[in-house]
């Protein structure tokens, strides 16, 4: 039997308004990068080779896995008996937050490396976009971690159940958005030339 489609997306609808705004903002930045590159392809290719793609790859794995852990936390709340679910879900959320924090550490190391090389916003157009895009995304990761921390606290206090998990869904949507944006950012900035 085919499952009936839900009328509204998961979580509070307000989070989807935020998601749409973020998607438009990042789309403009991604396209700004791609079309600016056309003006000086050689400079972009040369500058891109100065990036260490291992940082980008490691961060991709961290965010994808962290996003997966948040899915597992939500699954636990939806499918397991309340008392046990709270414990299991809060463990998944802690794991997700740990990976998110590692993302930040990794990014700080990468930024420091670039600063040591004398690279800043004024170095050239490529690095202007590189710093702008990744630093802007970095701020979203910080906000995402604050949200995960908040929903974990509520999870630990037994604030979610199989009948009431909308708040957790709302926070999860934001974290998946952060993941989705990085999925486009990683090949664009680090790989494609």
């Amino acid at each position: 039997m085919q499952k009936e489609k839900q009328a509204l997306p998961p979580g509070d609808f307000a989070i989807w308004i935020i998601v749409y705004i973020e998607l438009i903002t990042f789309a403009l930045l991604f396209l700004g990068y791609a079309f600016s590159r056309r003006l000086d392809v050689a400079l972009f290719n040369k500058s891109q080779l100065l990036l260490d793609q291992r940082f980008g790859f490691a961060n991709t794995l961290l965010l994808i896995t962290s996003s997966f852990f948040v899915v597992k936390a939500l699954e636990a709340i939806k499918n397991i008996e309340k008392k046990r679910a709270a414990k299991i879900a809060s463990h998944w959320l802690l794991a997700a937050m740990s990976l998110g924090s590692l993302f930040l550490v990794n990014k700080i190391i990468e930024f420091s490396d670039k600063v040591d090389q004398g690279i800043n916003l004024s170095t050239n157009t490529f690095f202007m976009f590189y710093i702008l895009l990744t630093a802007f995304h970095f701020m979203h990761v910080i906000l995402g971690l604050v949200i995960l921390f908040t929903i974990r606290q509520k999870t630990k206090d037994g604030g979610y159940s199989a009948h009431d998990y909308r708040g957790m869904e709302t926070g999860a949507i934001y974290w998946h958005l952060v993941d989705l944006l990085w999925i486009v950012l990683f090949p664009l900035i680090y790989i494609i030339r």
Binding site: L23, R37, R38, L180
Partner: protein
């Protein structure tokens, strides 16, 4: 969901190893953009949970992803005057 995560990791590894090529050919750029679309689509459908939602809400992020990647493809493929 574990299978989705495995596919996401596999496609990310493909992108990572492609990045070691000094020049990424036009064909590879296309393949990378398609693999990025697949990754984004999987996150939207399975992680964000839009798979079982009515079409009008389900299509918005996917349309965004398709539009952005298509515009990036145009920026990379369009010949310069």
């Amino acid at each position: 969901m574990f299978k989705i995560w495995v596919v996401l990791v596999f496609l990310s590894m493909f992108a990572f190893f492609t990045g070691y090529l000094r020049e990424v050919s036009a064909l590879l750029v296309g393949i990378l953009l398609i693999s990025t679309f697949i990754k984004g689509y999987l996150v939207i459908e399975y992680f964000m949970g839009l798979k079982n939602i009515t079409f009008k809400y389900r299509i918005i992020p996917t349309l965004w992803l398709l539009s952005v990647l298509s515009a990036i493809a145009i920026a990379y493929y369009l010949p310069k005057n």
